[in-house]
Amino acid sequence: MTQPLLEVQDLHTVFSTKEGWVKAVDGVSFELHPGETLGIVGESGCGKSVTALSIMRLQRPGVIKSGKVMFKGEDLTKATEGEMRDIRGREIAMIFQDPMTSLNPVFRTGWQVAEPLRLHHGWNAKKSLDSAINMLSRVGIPSAASRAEDYPHQFSGGMRQRVMIAMGLTTTPEVLIADEPTTALDVTIQAQILDLLRHVNREFGTATILITHNLGVVAGMCKRIVVMYAGRIVEAGPTIDVFAHPKHPYTWALLRSIPRLDADRHEPLKPIEGLPPNLVDLPSGCAFHPRCAFKVDRCSRDVPTLQAVGDTQRSACWVTQSGTELKGA
């Protein structure tokens, strides 16, 4: 088992609001190995984006209260701003959800894609632009050389996302964090972008963290996944195993709520009861217990920790940790 490339240890990130401290990331730990694809899944507000931003130390105005982010032996939470700038865009790259607003509208795309090369490798304009054009064509943009002269608004949504991916990869980083890269795109384009990310992962060997709320997306893309709820990880394991036999009631309920084409026509949909929790005022014990179909007494008292359940998975649930299987209508 190779050394993990990136290791998040008990990370806590909080935001100060009028109503109190919001615990956006509440004790998150996971590993990322070289060349691996990891998915972070959860609904809006569960803390997955903030986790990623915390890794990059871009979580402002949030504050990293405690925890470590070990990258190649160094704790990123303790690194200086200068050291972080060196790492951002060069060793760890991040691409964002909405490519229209994430690209600067007044600079040409080629120039923007080439920028990390100029900054981090010190290359001159011509050399960096050539490399950028090369990368643009490798991510599937036709006539890359002339397209590089165009502005972001002249590209379609899918193309723009390819540009962002190109921009993230120009310096061949070791880690690529993709925060909801397909959410703002049409379904057909989504498939293309995911293909591209898979291809990139294989060809460049870039470890990829894919953040999404869409289970279908991780199914096709990620070897391992981590499920988050209310700022905490509730389940982790190989994607295949988690999907086949989820070991946490939340994951179980999520999978069950997906409408299926082969279901009986009159069968009602099965949404998850209740509402997402207020992050300022989390429920006692397990954050999910008010909505849980399997809860027992202990769930409202003690906060469950992430433990091994089954051969390959880990789950933060008292019920499954004590051996109960999750089944039901």
Partner: protein
């Protein structure tokens, strides 16, 4: 693409020009029928002399003839003649325009040079004491009547200083005949009026830049820039400011038309020999034609200024060219 955009803007302007000529002459028409030229100079004019004078100035022809003659004149640079002394409006304009441009141009320059840093600092240090102070000064600056500010500055920097035997600033004119009007002399005369005039620009624009910067800095592409590992300076000044300045250019563009007329009050208070003061002086003498001619000229400049601002915007913001 840019050419098409330019053409469209140009045609829109032409329509407006025609509209303005119409309004101008409709207003003028009010005076045509009644005013007797030269009556002030010679109260005992005989009726046929009056008729002859009116005929000379074309005051007795039907409206449309007069209108067309006037348009024809304008296309040849003839903006009319004074009703009082017969001097051509154009000669006055040529004489005074450079002075006005000098004044308002300097004021706008001062405005930009001060507003940008003030606005950026305000945005970066949002909520701090510095920011609050700057906001208060800006809000106050917009409320001060220009003419009054001029008077007060003259009081302080001209009158009082002179009374105390200290070096003082001149309070009127663009240069003094005595000193021969060299660069420093002109500069001395320019300081006070330009400061007064720029106050409004500085106040408004600094607040504008501040809010524009704040908005830009909250955009996603700024987050992307940081994620690429850029220094904060580069993020703010290259990626941020470049976007924040675009709307400012529009604002400045909106002021360009006012370049000729905006300084009128200041010109009068400081005796600055510009177009504004010309219009004012002539208005007091009821020299309708001169005031008319100057107004029309200024309007043409406004329309040209608007066109120029549109073009500038097209150059700066690539998204506009393609709409």
């Amino acid at each position: 693409m840019l050419a098409k955009y330019v053409a469209r803007r140009f045609f829109a302007s032409i329509v407006v020009v025609l509209g303005v000529t119409l309004i101008t002459l409709v207003l003028m028409d009010r005076t045509r029928g009644t005013y007797v030229p030269g009556i002030d100079l010679n109260p005992s004019l005989r009726p046929d002399d009056i008729a002859r004078l009116r005929a000379d100035l074309g005051l007795d022809r039907p409206f449309y003839v007069w209108y067309l003659t006037w348009i024809w004149g304008v296309l040849h640079g003839d903006f009319g003649r004074s009703m009082i002394d017969g001097s051509t409006v154009m000669s006055h304009i040529l004489d005074r325009l450079p002075n006005t441009l000098e004044l308002t141009g300097t004021a706008i320059l001062i405005g930009v040079v001060i507003a940008i840093p003030v606005g950026v600092v305000g945005a970066l240090r949002r909520g701090s004491k510095t920011d609050h102070t700057m906001t208060v000064v800006s809000v106050a600056g917009v409320a001060v009547p220009q003419f009054w500010m001029g008077l007060i500055l003259i009081l302080i920097f001209s009158v009082t200083l002179e009374q105390r035997g200290l070096p003082w600033l001149p309070s009127s004119g663009a240069y003094s005949a005595v000193n021969g009007g060299d660069f420093f002399d002109r500069l001395e005369h320019l300081i006070l009026p330009a400061t007064v005039l720029s106050f409004f620009y500085t106040s408004t624009w600094s607040r504008f830049i501040r809010s524009s910067m704040l908005e830009v800095l909250s955009q996603d592409y700024i987050r992307t820039a940081r994620a690429k590992g850029m220094s904060e300076r580069r993020v703010v000044y290259l990626h941020g400011l470049r976007n924040a300045l675009i709307p400012l250019v529009t604002l400045i563009g909106l002021e360009l038309p006012g370049l000729v007329s905006g300084g009128l009050v200041v010109e009068v208070v400081f005796g600055w020999p510009g177009i504004g003061k010309l219009a004012f002086e002539r208005a007091l003498q009821y020299d309708y034609t001169t005031v008319m001619g100057v107004t029309f000229f200024a309007t043409m400049l406004v329309i040209a200024g608007n066109l120029l601002a549109d073009l500038l915007y097209g150059v700066l913001d690539p998204r506009i060219r393609y709409t």
